[in-house]
């Protein structure tokens, strides 16, 4: 249980009294709390959301077990917690609700403003546990399980399967698909119609950093792209080695179309 990650996108970003327009990322361990709101000298908040319609102390996020709880400290406003991957799945957290448990791995917390716009930030809960598919019954609590568990219905898993596809089909022992190739490969999937290259990259980063905690050598500057590739290769190597992605998962991908893939398929 490593906790949750809160990400306030660029624009609202002001954290712990330090003004900056940059995006803010905050990590909370189990039991830790972060307050959010407009903040002031007397009501300090860890996540500052700079909008006049938002209370000075608008709410609180508390990490509990493998999930988190949202307290709505506003007396008038309801907040929404959306599951960006849930096809419209959301929760409404009414005013003064204390400690509403949030079941999503990915959440977007939306606060209303006066200008027909909203202020939103994201909360990721990478600790959600999934039982192994090859479990043999018995009490699951004392069972030996894979300690790195993935949601096989999540978008990141689809991207992971796409990353692993060439190796699973024994087409190419070396090449791992590039981001544009993944966007292209998943285009036909109903959940990926509007998938951008940027989203693919951030899903891969999430997998590497939060889910698998891959130890990759840190490099910067011109080597950055190479490091990205190294990360992809590391992910693919690990998930195949430890059986987190298997042949049966190829069925999740949309059917392959286009001459290039076919040719490669027959040639390989």
């Amino acid at each position: 249980m490593s906790g949750v990650v809160i990400h306030v996108p660029q624009g609202y970003g002001e954290v712990a009294g330090e003004p900056s327009g940059d995006a803010v990322t905050l990590r909370l361990g189990p039991g830790e709390v972060a307050r959010f709101g407009r903040g002031s000298a007397t009501t300090p908040v860890e996540l500052r959301l700079d909008d006049e319609a938002i209370s000075r102390l608008a709410g609180e996020i508390r990490v509990t077990d493998d999930h988190w709880q949202l307290s709505n400290l506003s007396t008038t406003q309801s907040y929404l917690v959306e599951n960006p991957e849930g096809a419209g799945e959301y929760l409404r957290v009414p005013p003064r609700r204390a400690g509403a448990p949030i079941p999503f791995e990915f959440s977007r917390v939306v606060l209303p403003t006066r200008r027909n716009t909203t202020v939103a930030f994201q909360v990721f809960a990478p600790d959600h546990v999934y039982l192994d598919p090859d479990g043999m019954g018995g009490q699951w609590g004392s069972r030996t399980v894979t300690a790195y568990s993935l949601d096989e219905t999540a978008l990141y898993f689809l991207i992971l399967v796409a990353l692993c596809e060439p190796r699973l089909r024994d087409e190419s022992p070396v090449a791992v698909p590039t981001t544009p190739q993944i966007v292209e490969r998943l285009k036909g999937h109903p959940a990926c119609a509007r998938l951008t290259a940027r989203a693919v990259s951030s899903h891969i980063d999430y997998l590497a950093d939060e889910k698998m905690r891959i130890s990759a050598p840190a490099e910067s500057g011109p080597r950055r792209e190479a490091r990205r590739n190294g990360k992809r290769e590391a992910i693919v190597g690990l998930v195949l080695r430890f059986g987190l992605v298997r042949e049966e998962h190829l069925a999740l991908l949309p059917p392959r179309t286009g001459g290039a893939a076919q040719e490669r398929g027959t040639a390989g």
């Binding site: 249980m1 600790d127 090859d134 069972r143 894979t146 891959i214």
Partner: protein, 472 residues
């Protein structure tokens, strides 16, 4: 295109029927299903008289699995077999043979790997609900430690120690089993090895929750087994209760993390007898570094040298259900009001007592915290704070302390000394009925409060206090 069937159904838990023949053994009954295998009881039907008759047959099916899943099962079996071939010790379950089933007509069984092992009577898990006496618990822990010490000495980490994998033979002796995650220590100094990213949540050390996944798996060190041992000892003496609160393994995992990050203290169950409580706390040291000094060997030595009274006596603290407040730090034990005695103390300046709260104090003392863990800290952790009494003649309880807290190393201005207040015993068992009246900061609401003399090593020459007026 061939797609494997959904393997989550009950078909995979299908058991070998009684009478089924596996090489020289025959299945007698099913024992149970674990995470990746089913276990059956078997008996020898063809062999020498000196061979063990009763065996356990652990079946790892590979059919119906995708090739890579099958590889995972094979890897598990390979670890067990390789380990079994190279290790033999009275405290480890012995692997007698391995058989690969060939059953073309039974796709589920075809290709399954069967490990033929010594048969145990039951597991330690079966013993937990009933609880054990301290003497019996001591024997069990000793034997578990013997097994672990042998493993670690031979350069292996068990990797999945838990009551389910600690087996009890018909004669009651302990043997460790389930070597599917056993890891050989590598590296230049043999300090760590790499294991598949698997484990049992309740027994994973806190560092594992944040461990990075490398090419070879996750780093595993013997201290991981020591942590699991600590959880197991606690469960043994506390009727199966984990030392970490929570209804689910995830909740307990989160509590483990809070403890390791220093946000929550370790609260061991009051049913764990004192000697074992201390031992458990050491096994559950929050970091690898702090745990590393406690090895299976050193624990064995400690158990061997423990005071005999604790095993002989029925140990009142061993009663299950008696919970003690877990506030180890900053907790005083108040015994009784001491008899009022004559005050004999060297007066330095006889007449200053009346005007003592003003101007320069007659003396200064430095606060001393008997809890060693608190002495090195400077972060003013509330866990390490000490209280000051309002009335030194009344029991030292929550409603008799001022809001102002003090920490180890704080310097306080002292007005005077009281010889016979409430008797105080500190964590190091130092008794004293002496108190110092100390001055509080200007905005504390009260001008003075009382510090028990056990809370300082200084003995300043200050005047006697006038008999304190009851605070209420």
């Amino acid at each position: 295109m061939h797609r494997p069937a959904d393997t989550s159904g009950s078909d995979r838990t299908e058991l070998l029927p009684p009478g089924y023949r596996v090489s020289r053994w025959e299945v007698t009954e099913s024992i149970g299903a674990g995470g990746w295998a089913t276990v059956h009881a078997g008996r020898l039907v063809e062999g020498d008289a000196d061979e063990q008759e009763a065996v356990a047959l652990k079946v790892l099916p590979t059919a119906g699995l995708a090739p890579r899943q099958a590889r995972k099962v094979a890897e598990t079996a390979r670890r067990e077999v390789e380990f079994g071939r190279r290790s033999s010790h009275p405290r480890l379950i012995r692997l007698l043979d391995t058989v690969v089933l060939s059953e073309p007509d039974h796709p589920f069984l075809d290709g399954a790997i069967v490990l033929v092992m010594e048969r145990a009577e039951r597991s330690l898990r079966d013993l937990l609900d009933a609880g054990v006496s301290e003497a019996e618990g001591a024997r069990l822990v000793t034997e578990i430690c013997e097994g672990l010490a042998h493993l670690h000495r031979s350069g292996w980490v068990h990797g999945d120690l838990k009551p389910d994998n600690i087996l009890l033979m018909a004669d009651g002796s302990v043997k460790l089993s389930d070597f599917g995650l056993v890891t050989e220590l590598t590296g230049t100094h043999g300090t760590h090895g790499y294991a598949p990213p698997m484990g049992t949540f309740d027994y994973l050390p806190p560092e594992r929750w944040k461990a990075p996944l490398g090419e070879q798996g996750v780093e595993v060190r013997p201290s991981a087994d020591i942590w699991a041992l600590g959880i197991t000892i606690h469960e043994l003496f506390a009727s199966g209760a984990s030392p970490f609160p929570g209804a689910t393994p995830m909740a307990r995992g989160a509590a483990t993390q809070e403890y390791a990050d220093g946000r929550a203290p370790l609260r061991l169950d009051g049913a764990v007898p004192p000697f074992w409580r201390a031992l458990t706390a050491d096994c559950l040291a929050p970091t690898h570094a702090a745990r590393a000094e406690h090895t299976a060997e050193s624990l064995l030595a400690r158990i061997a040298e423990r005071p005999p009274t604790e095993t002989d006596a029925p140990a009142p603290s061993g009663r299950p259900g008696v919970r003690r407040l877990g506030r180890r730090r900053a907790a005083f034990v108040t015994l009784a009001v001491c008899a009022v005695g004559a005050t004999i103390w060297p007066h330095v300046e006889g007449g200053t007592a009346s005007g003592a709260t003003a101007a320069e104090p007659p003396g200064r003392i430095r606060v001393f915290n008997a809890d060693q863990g608190c002495r090195g800290r400077t972060d003013k952790d509330p866990q390490c704070s000490l209280g000051l009494a309002i009335d030194p003649m009344r029991p030292y309880t929550v409603d008799n302390v001022v809001p102002t807290r003090v920490w180890h190393g704080d310097e306080l201005a002292v007005d005077c000394w009281l010889a016979a207040g409430m008797q105080i015993i500190d964590e190091a068992d130092t008794h004293s009925a002496e108190w110092y009246r100390v001055r509080l900061p200007r905005d504390s609401g009260r001008p003075t409060a009382w510090l028990p003399a056990v809370r300082t090593k200084d003995r300043p020459a200050v005047p006697d206090c006038p008999a304190p007026t009851p605070a209420r």
